[in-house]
Structure formats: structure tokens, C-alpha cells
Subunit: 689 residues, 2 copies
């Protein structure tokens, strides 16, 4: 399960040291496409959250659901470009994971009867701690309250010391709007700063009562009202409902897709001819009734997840393809560093991390590296991505190890977007315990195991006569003996009557009543409950971070926003722009559209009356990587121009050559530099933007 905690950490204190990020950058540059062209300055303007939000809203990437009814916190609708972007991320996820590793895809139900979540532990434990304002009854999430108040005090301290940064100032507006905590310039003692930093670094590690303690110790009240808050109470995050017309069958909406995999384990195992390892995968909607969600797409009550359950032999967690990823370097933040109240990351290869026991095993390491490759491929900035290990209290008690892919963004700081956990045999075991149905692998042993064991056999008749209603008690006492105990009893019986204790009472055993013999047993089948490695992706969080990482404004005009989405996920790959709406362009527009569609490339025609520059600008906002223009030369000479979004560079060629080139570009078989070698630069009139 994706645990779903947002680690809202103030950006300035937590950024990687510059030397580390630049090192990482150099090491990684060959692994992901370097999209920043030398001629383009994407950082000429600081990231502007207001402009960014305005673009997403205006172009309907997504919007608050039920907006005309006043909206509901934590529920969002995706409009046309957002839906496409999401669908493309999911399609790439399927290629990268399901197709590449021949996983078994599932589509299981969301509505789930209560007994399933009683067994899984969700009914008892899938909860957050909330506090109530003692004055107005407002409900707040306990850990968020602590975090927001302490961060505001630290921010106030920086202000008092004259250290407040531009980034922080920009964030203030946002906080005001979201009704968060406004800082006041008050200087703090150095020791207090250190204590607050330490609390924030291990915030995910506190229990509810501990959070209550922190609130008392540090005089934390509801900042909106100034009222004190009550003791933290647990609130279960599952949406409850009732199945059928009688009201007698309580159900919950799943908070993760994982249980659907576990419950179908036996069918999946059979599908894989009874052998592990194999993996199931599922993309689908999940629901969490968040206490008071206020972080946009980062904390929502309904969201798409993509989850993998990779079932392995607990005695062999090696992975056959581990060598392919062993040299991949990752930025890691391990549990020991965090427990010490620090947040210093280190760079390690996956191979070294597994070898040194930082990551628990090969299969877990393999998936961490695959997650990393996936996120880079869809356009996440490698400099703003790290893997954080769960701390002891944070991790489920049964889990062997867990790493979150955290992506840095302006709303949530370093935000968990993917979880990757070794959940041991927990899930299959609890469902077996509840249902009595074995969820195990039976493995034929190449060499049968032969062993001798002492076996006790009673003379049932005389036993019943002697012990009567206590016969079961005596029998159980003998059964409980180990090998040595049984052999000792055998020796005693050889000498005459002896005694055994059961529930504090002593029973006499006559020789003749009990025979103990060593017998030979042969086992040719090994039975075991597989362990589960679970990579779990929050699609909406990844999508939001990707949008932030892709956004910038043109150097010459801050109003001209661009989303530099990679072609693989861009909602539209090619914009087709006829110079005018004249009928003579129609056949060419149709031809180009059809040829791109046949190549499986999603193109859109913009035949509005706006200038070509304006039409390109509008599509820069939608992240469309390429544009082709049909003008009078196209009609006369069958030439066409090709424009690249980030550089606004334009090339010209025959319609055939341009289509061939743009197909290669979209499919990723060439880079823009190669396209420039194929097609000469264009300096015609409409190139001026």
C-alpha cells in the first residue's frame, strides 16, 4: 500500500547540497533525455505558482469536482488534456512494467465486504490522528497541525533574522489562500530550532499520544481560532457503505488495490503453472476519506493507483535481471539518518546498497531502480527525486523494508509518490488465517527430505478408561513434547509407570498405555507462503509533480508559459496548423492528419483564425512538443515546416520528410539535433513569433 503521508518540509532547509545535485546531474545525464536546449533559458523566471495554477485551470488540465456546487475538498475532475496526460502516463507504466516483465494484469472490485479489511488490519489500523478545536469543533489532522505550527515558527525565526527567502515569500500567498499558518517574525533560541528540526524530521514516527504530548509541550493551538485542541483521536480513512437491500452487509471502498491481488492469489498461481516468482499488476481507483485535504492533487479522497504485487520465495529474493540495474545510482535517505533527526542523503549504486544491506534484498532493489527509470522516462526531474526509507515506527510491523520515491514540489516539499515495500508473508497469511483457505506454493523437491521422528501412539481404550474426560489434556501434554522429551518418556516407560504434568495436575502413565517409536518420514513437497514485494504508484501525485517540473515561462515574455512534457506523455504529440482556413489547404490537412493517425500518433488541427504564433503559444501551454505548418508553399511545392516547442526552432522539408522525421521524434528513435541535420532551418515570415 502507498502509505500516503505527505512530508511537508520547508524547501530551503532540505534541499540537496549543491555539489551533490550537480554531481548527480552529471552522472545521470546519459540516462535521461537532456531536454534543456542551450539556446533556451528555462529558468529566466522563478517558478510562479500563481501563473502555473492559472494555466492548469484555464486549459482544464484538472479542476475541483462539483465546482458549480461549491466543490468538495479533495475531489478533482480531469479535463481533456489532464485525462490524456494521465492516460499516457498509465500507458507508459503498462509498457515499462507489465509488458516488459510479463506481469498478470487484474481488474478487481472497489466495493469490498468488511471481513476482508478486518483481516487485512485496515478496520483496526487504517486511520489518521485527528484533533478537535475545543472552541468551534473544527477538525484538524494532528501531525499536520504540529508540522504547520512548527514550520511557521521556524519561518518567523528566519524572518526575524532577515533570512526569509524569495521562495518562502511566494509560498506565503499560497498559505494564506489555503488558510494555513501565517508566520510571525519571532527569533527562537538555537536549541529550540534544533528541537523543531528534529521533530519535523521524524514526524512520521510519532504515535497519536506522542503528538498530543508535543502539542502540550510546545503550546500548539489551532492557529485559525487560537483555541486549544483536544487529545488526538483515531479516524478511520475508509469510506463505509452497505451492500444489498437489507443493510446487513457492511462494505468499504478499497483504500488501495492490493487486497484484490492477494484474494486472487490461488488463481494467479495456477495461471503461472504453480510457480513463483510472478507478479500481478492493477491500475484502478482507490478512496481515502482524508480528514481535511488541502494540498491539491497531492492529497485527495479519490485517486488512481497502479500497484504491483511481486510474489517471491522467502528463501530466495534474488532477481534474475538485477545485474541490469546494479550500476544505477540513486539518491538515498536511509532510516538511521532520519531517526537521528537528520536529512542528509547519499548517492549509492543499487548494487552497493543491496550488498551493504541498506536495501534489504535484490528484488526490492531491482524495483527501486525500475521505478527510478520510469519516473525519469516520463519527465520527472532527476535532481528533484530521492528514495527515502521508512523508519521503524512508520513502517508496518510485518514489513521487512520500505522505500518511498519522493519527488520535490512547491506544495508538499519532498512528497511520497511511489512506495516500494517488502511486505513479507503478512497479507497472504492474514487471509488464510481468516478464511482457512491456504494461500501457499507447493514446490516439488528435487531430493525428498528423509527424517526420523519419534511418534507417540496411545492404547485408546485403556487411555479413555484411565483419564476419562481428561484424556485430551494428557494426550496434548505428550504431543507438546519435543524429540528429546519423547525419548526421555520412552526410557522412563521402559522402566515402569511414570508421570506427566498437564495444567498443573500430575497424571500417571502405565507402560502398555503408550508406545513411543522412532519412524522414518519422507517429504517430497515443500509448502511455503510467498513473500510480497509491492511497488505502489500514486498516479495523481506523479502527474502533479511532472506538471510542476515541466512548467517554465519564455525568457522574453513571462506570460508565455510552456509545459515541456516529453512526447511519450504529452496529451497531443503534433499540432497541425494550416496558415489560413482556405479550402485549398483542406486536402493537405486531411492527408497529414491521416498519415500521422495511421502511424499511431495523436495530432490535432488548429484551424482557428488566430495568428500562427498565437496558435503555437496556446499549444505550448498544453505541452504539444511538435507543430507542422501548411502554407501556400505546401500547396505549390509540397513543403511543410516543423517546429520544436522548447526552442521554437523551425525547420523545413518535403511533406514526406517532415512526416517521417516527426514520427521518429515522437517515437523517440531520434533527438531534435538529428532532425536538424535532416531538415534545413526555416526563416520564412510565419516563423517570427
Amino acid at each position: 500500500m502507498l502509505v500516503g503521508r505527505l512530508t511537508l518540509v520547508s524547501a530551503p532547509r532540505r534541499q540537496l547540497p549543491t555539489y551533490l545535485t550537480s554531481l548527480l546531474y552529471c552522472v545521470k545525464r546519459k540516462l535521461y533525455s537532456e531536454r534543456t536546449m542551450s539556446s533556451v533559458n528555462k529558468t529566466a523566471h522563478a517558478f510562479d505558482k500563481t501563473r502555473f495554477d492559472a494555466l492548469l485551470n484555464r486549459r482544464f488540465f484538472y479542476a475541483p469536482a462539483f465546482e458549480i456546487y461549491g466543490g468538495v475538498a479533495g475531489l478533482y475532475d480531469y479535463g481533456p488534456p489532464g485525462s490524456s496526460l494521465q492516460a499516457n502516463i498509465i500507458a507508459e507504466w503498462r509498457r515499462h512494467f507489465i509488458v516488459e516483465e510479463s506481469m498478470y494484469e487484474l481488474d478487481t472490485t472497489i466495493m469490498t465486504p468488511a471481513p476482508v479489511f478486518e483481516a487485512s488490519g485496515h478496520v483496526a489500523r487504517f486511520a489518521d490522528w485527528m484533533v478537535k478545536d475545543t472552541g468551534n469543533g473544527e477538525v484538524l489532522r494532528a501531525d499536520h497541525l504540529v508540522k504547520n505550527v512548527l514550520e511557521a515558527r521556524l519561518e518567523g525565526d528566519r524572518e526575524a533574522r532577515g533570512q526569509a527567502t524569495q521562495v518562502v515569500a511566494a509560498a506565503d500567498d499560497k498559505k494564506k489562500k489555503r488558510n494555513e499558518v501565517k508566520s510571525t517574525a519571532v527569533k527562537l533560541e538555537d536549541a529550540v530550532i534544533a528541537e523543531y528540526d528534529s521533530i519535523l524530521a521524524q514526524l512520521d514516527n510519532y504515535t497519536g499520544p506522542e503528538l498530543g504530548g508535543l502539542m502540550r509541550t510546545h503550546a500548539i493551538t489551532n492557529p485559525a481560532s487560537g483555541n486549544p485542541v483536544g487529545e488526538p483521536q483515531q479516524f478511520n480513512l475508509m469510506f463505509a457503505s452497505s451492500i444489498g437491500p437489507t443493510g446487513q452487509h457492511p462494505g468499504f471502498l478499497r483504500p488501495e488495490t492490493a487486497q484484490g491481488h492477494f484474494l486472487n492469489f490461488n488463481r494467479l498461481l495456477e495461471f503461472n503453472n504453480g510457480r513463483v516468482p510472478f507478479a500481478s499488476a492493477q491500475v484502478g481507483r482507490s478512496f481515502r476519506n482524508e480528514i481535511s485535504p488541502r494540498a491539491g492533487l497531492l492529497r485527495v479522497r479519490e485517486f488512481n493507483m497502479a500497484e504491483i504485487e511481486h510474489f517471491v520465495d522467502p528463501l530466495d529474493k534474488s532477481h534474475p535481471r538485477f545485474s541490469e540495474v546494479a550500476d544505477v545510482e540513486l539518491v538515498l535517505l536511509d532510516k538511521y539518518v532520519q531517526a537521528a533527526g537528520q536529512s542528509t542523503t547519499r548517492i549509492m549504486t543499487v548494487g552497493a546498497a543491496v550488498k551493504e544491506g541498506v536495501i534489504a534484498n535484490e528484488t526490492l532493489g531491482y524495483f527501486v531502480a525500475r521505478i527510478y527509470a520510469f519516473l525519469l522516462k516520463i519527465g520527472i526531474d532527476g535532481k528533484r527525486l530521492r528514495f527515502r526509507q521508512h523508519m521503524a515506527n512508520e513502517m508496518a510491523h510485518y514489513a521487512a523494508d520500505c522505500w518511498d520515491a519522493e519527488i520535490q514540489n512547491s506544495v508538499g516539499g519532498w512528497t511520497e509518490c511511489v512506495g516500494c515495500a517488502d511486505r513479507s508473508a503478512y497479507d497472504l497469511s492474514v487471509h488464510t488465517a481468516k478464511t482457512g483457505i491456504p494461500l501457499v506454493v507447493r514446490q516439488a523437491l528435487k531430493e525428498p527430505i528423509v527424517e526420523e521422528k519419534a511418534v507417540a501412539e496411545w492404547d485408546k481404550k485403556s487411555m479413555g478408561k484411565t483419564y476419562k474426560s481428561e484424556a485430551g489434556l494428557v494426550s496434548a501434554a505428550v504431543t507438546a513434547l519435543d524429540e528429546a522429551g519423547l525419548m526421555k518418556l520412552k526410557d522412563e516407560l521402559a522402566k515402569g509407570p511414570t508421570t506427566i504434568k498437564a495444567e498443573g495436575k500430575e497424571f500417571t502413565i502405565e507402560p502398555g498405555m503408550l508406545t513411543i517409536e522412532r519412524k522414518t518420514f519422507k517429504t517430497s513437497v515443500r509448502e511455503f507462503t510467498p513473500n510480497v514485494i509491492e511497488p505502489s504508484f500514486g498516479i495523481g501525485r506523479i502527474l502533479y509533480c511532472l506538471l510542476e517540473h515541466s512548467f517554465w515561462s519564455r525568457e522574453q515574455d513571462v506570460e508565455r508559459g510552456v509545459l515541456s512534457l516529453p512526447a511519450v506523455v504529452a496529451p497531443t504529440k503534433v499540432l497541425i496548423v494550416p496558415l489560413s482556413a482556405r479550402a485549398e489547404f483542406d486536402p493537405l490537412v486531411k492527408e497529414v492528419s491521416l498519415r500521422l493517425r495511421k502511424a499511431g500518433i495523436h495530432a490535432r488541427v488548429d484551424d482557428s483564425t488566430a495568428t500562427i504564433g498565437k496558435r503555437y503559444s496556446r499549444n505550448d501551454e498544453l505541452g504539444t512538443p511538435f507543430g507542422v505548418t501548411l502554407d501556400f508553399a505546401s500547396v505549390q511545392n509540397r513543403t511543410m515546416t516543423l517546429r520544436e516547442r522548447d526552442t521554437t526552432d523551425q525547420r523545413i522539408g518535403s511533406i514526406d520528410d517532415v512526416i517521417g522525421t516527426v514520427i521518429d521524434l515522437v517515437q523517440g528513435s531520434i533527438e531534435w539535433a538529428e532532425a536538424c541535420q535532416r531538415l534545413p532551418a526555416y526563416d520564412g515570415v510565419q516563423a517570427v513569433e
Copy 2:
């Protein structure tokens, strides 16, 4: 909304007359691929539901959800082949509708606050009628009870007359298992048969009290217990929940995706530059808390829908592409025929149906024809598909016209799988009424409308003095007058004081108090609420019917089941079979896999130790249309054989030629006959199955 009623009609009484089906078949054969090869007898064995179910279950197409917990009626999980089949149906739906018509895709939330469904009418009316067994409290759906009991009586009559057919006998087993009504051989009067037939034909037309009346008149009791049942009560089919921690915000799981489109209308309209027509589309999960679902995938509590909302000008429901479909012939069952208690279909072109007013307008007709083409393309048998018009009581009061695509199958008879309704301006209007936010189109008129209207103007001061608290009453009475009334009043006032009646009382108006003049008004903007044409697809029902229509058994061996799924939806397109697991085959297997994957074709390798015949058989059950075999000749001469699933015909060629041919086959650019011209027949040893 897909209304979701299942018309369970006994097959023998309702089948199309043979001459009609064969006529239809001849007419339509060019429209869909004729998959039955002359050398293959797909009907050598009668359809066997038990074998069919066993195949779907064994190969994990789908299975009851929470099976190890005893299952929950109406909830199913899709396994690997079922998930792929579903994903492929949805992908084709996107190509056929969204891409082809440039629709705007949305992804909106499932959890919905109560006010939305209060406005839409779902809270008050989205309900089924249920009855309670007066003895044991069992809850039954009222219309299903009437239907099951009357059908059993008709069946008993047929048995008594010696007319019971094989199909019916096979269905009996199923009924027993599903605890449905077992028939008893009792002969009925001819008049009673006619009455039962008439009731069954218009079952969807009855209100709850009417169903109660039928139960009394025809002495219908709970067949399981023999107990009488109570009066029909309404049961709302929406799953209820609560949003947020306070319990003060009731919510429902959406029973359709449609409201998400309507609530975003203004954003979509802006996305389309303020103009209609345009269409939004959404594929997603919906939920209905069915009373006692027992019809497999045909009646479930959670399901995937694909819905289109096409917004049009109410004054112009023409469609620019109507001419492309005007000649398509459809099997229609109109409302007049059904209201007369009949079920005789007729064949009409869409063009004629719209012209003669059978289908209400061009846009509705266009979508009916497009739905038809889609269903044939994915493999639905055109002979088992008809379009049934909703009857007066069945249709929502606001709807202008509604047609269901019904697909015949062994479980539900003719089953609604797609609904296509003209919902007028209802949906947008109710949300405007509830929220006060206009959901309208403002259209600039080319020619402003200029009109003269009489306008009444009071001398406010003397009016107040004269009428005092009744001034509003008098003013309203004048405002209510039409043009002629105002002009008459003007004439009267020109002669002196006159009177007007308001709420039964007469008021005197003095000349001077009221001036009436004709004035000129100019309107340059027309404002209107668009109408909505809504095609709504139940993906699971279509998937189930497709599986039934695709299933048959080999003539020589009834145990060898085949699913003749078209390549476009088949879970796997190509099976790659190496003759043995020897290492020398590995490079070839890799090469073929990679080349197919690069062409975007989903292939699977079966390198198990089973015989080649057995491996092909197993994949016939999964619907894999093509298989390629790598043997020792492949290693030596780079040849490969190609097998077609339905005919089991095998051809041979170079690896390059076979790959080229199989790519063309899967992409639908050639048929098997053409592949046979390219590649010679193969008669090698492993061809023998």
C-alpha cells in the same frame, strides 16, 4: 444513463423469424468480417453453457470477487485474459468514438455529494421495486419475480404440450443452480398464454403498484418458499456513504458517469470556443446496489461504463456525417409494437427511420448506426443484435427518444448493452435550477433580431398612492397581459379610466397613471440550453455477450473449446511456440518477440513442455488468433510456420515473410485468404493436431 433493465425473455418465443435473420445476414455480410471459414463447422455442437462457464473460470477470464470469503453477489474480478479483453474493447471504443470524432475525454470522480443527485432526480427516483417474502423476509425484485413465475408457467405449458426444446432443457440446470423458478408441466388456456406473453412484452412499462396488482391477479408468490409477498416498495440503487470526518456530508457513489460531464459543461464549452455541437466522453467505474443480482456479468453492483454526452442546438439536431451512415440497415423494435404486446422487429435503413420519424432525429440516428458498427467490429454477432425503443412509461419523462442496443445471450435473452437517448435539456436545466449557475450557450446572431413590443410604464408615485399594498398585484396583472391585451388596455385608457382584475378583485386605472407604448428591441445574442444525445455503454455486458458469441467447440472433440475473438480485441494476438526448450531456439524466440513488440503487437511465448497441439489448444481457449512455430528448420533455414486459430490451417514461409504477414493480419489490412496466397500450406509433422 444506461437504464440497466434486463429483459429476460425466453429465447424460443422471441427469436427473429428465420427469413429475417438470413436476409439481414446477407445484407450485412460486407459490413463485418465473415469469420466462419467454410472448412470449419462452428455449430457442430449446441452451445453448452456449462462448458463455456468452465472455460471462463478455468482460464480466469473473470471470477466472483472475494471468492475465498464466500463471494458477494454482483461483484466480479477480471483475471489476466479478461482484463486484457476489457482493455482492448475500451481501446477500440476510444478509437471508434473519441479519436474518430475528436471528442473531449474526461475523468471525473465517483464519490458525489448528495445535492448533485438530488438535482438530477436520482435520490428521488433511481430505484427498483422490491417485495418482501411475508414468511421468511427474503427480498426479491418485483419485476423479476413476475417475469420468472410467468415464464416458468409458459415453460410448463410447453412441456405439457410436448414442445420443450433442447435449449430450454439446458437452461433448466442453470435455473436450478441459480435458485430460479423450476417449471412444472401444466397446460394453460390459450387466452392465458396470450395474456402472459403480453405482460412479458411490456414488463418494463409497469409501475410498482401495477406490479403488485399483477401479483394479486395471477397469484404470484415467492417460488422458493411458496409464501405470499408484500406490496412493492421502492429501494434506491445508489450506494450511500459520508464524506469527511464529521459525518455531515452525505455522498453517493455515482450510478453513471454522466453527471460529471454535465457539471463541467461550462469548462467544456469554453474548451470548444463557446460553440456547440461537441461531445465529451468518459470511461469509468459506476455502482448500483442491485437488489439480488443473479445474472453473472449482466447484472452487477460495480461495472465499467463508457459514456458520451453530445451537446447539440435544440433547433438543429442534424448531423454533418449523417449521410455516411444513412444506408446502414438496422433491426428495430419500436415502441408501438411493444405497447401492443408484440415483439416483431423490422429492418430499416437509418436514413428511412429518421425520415419516417421512427428515430427522432439525425444525431440520434447517427449514433445508433455508429454503435451498431462498433459492436460488429469487436465481434458481436449481427444476427443477435437489435435496437429496441423505450416505451412511454419506461422512458424518463424529459427524454425525447431512447433506443437500446440489445444483444441476445443465453442468460438474459435480449439484453440491453448500450442505451442511446435524446435527453433534451433536462440535465443542464436541473443543475442550473439547483445552483443558479447558467449552463447555456450564447450565440452571436449573424442578423440581430429586431422586434417591436408594447411596454407598460407606471407613474410609480400615483400608483403607490392609489393601490398601496396592492400595487404589486395590479402591476403583475398588467405585466401578465400579452401584446394584444396591452394594446386593448392602451385603447381603453385613451378613452378614460378603465378596470383590471387581479386575484378576483377589480382595480380602476386612471389614464395618466399608466403609459403604454410600442418600442423597438434589438437582440444580437441568442441564449439557449443545449440538448444532450447520450450513448451509454455497459462494458461488462458487451464483454460477456462477446464471449458467448465467440465460443464454440471443435467438431471432432467437444472438449476442445475455442473463443473466436477478432484480433482487435483478443487478449494476445500471436502465440510464439518454440518446438522445444533447447537453448538454440532462444535467439530466434527473442528476435520474433522483439519484432512483434516493436510493431505494437502483443505476443506471448509458450515454452512449456506440453505438445505443440496442446499448447495451441490452450491458446484457442484464450482466443489467440495466430500462432507461429519455431522448429529445427527455423534454426537451419530461418523458416517459420503460421497457424490460424479457427481453421487450424498452417502455412510456412521465411521468418521475415511470416512476421510481415502476421502484422498485416493483426492490423486488419489483410484477411486469412490473402495470407494463404502469400504463404504455401505446411504439412509438416507438428501440424497434426
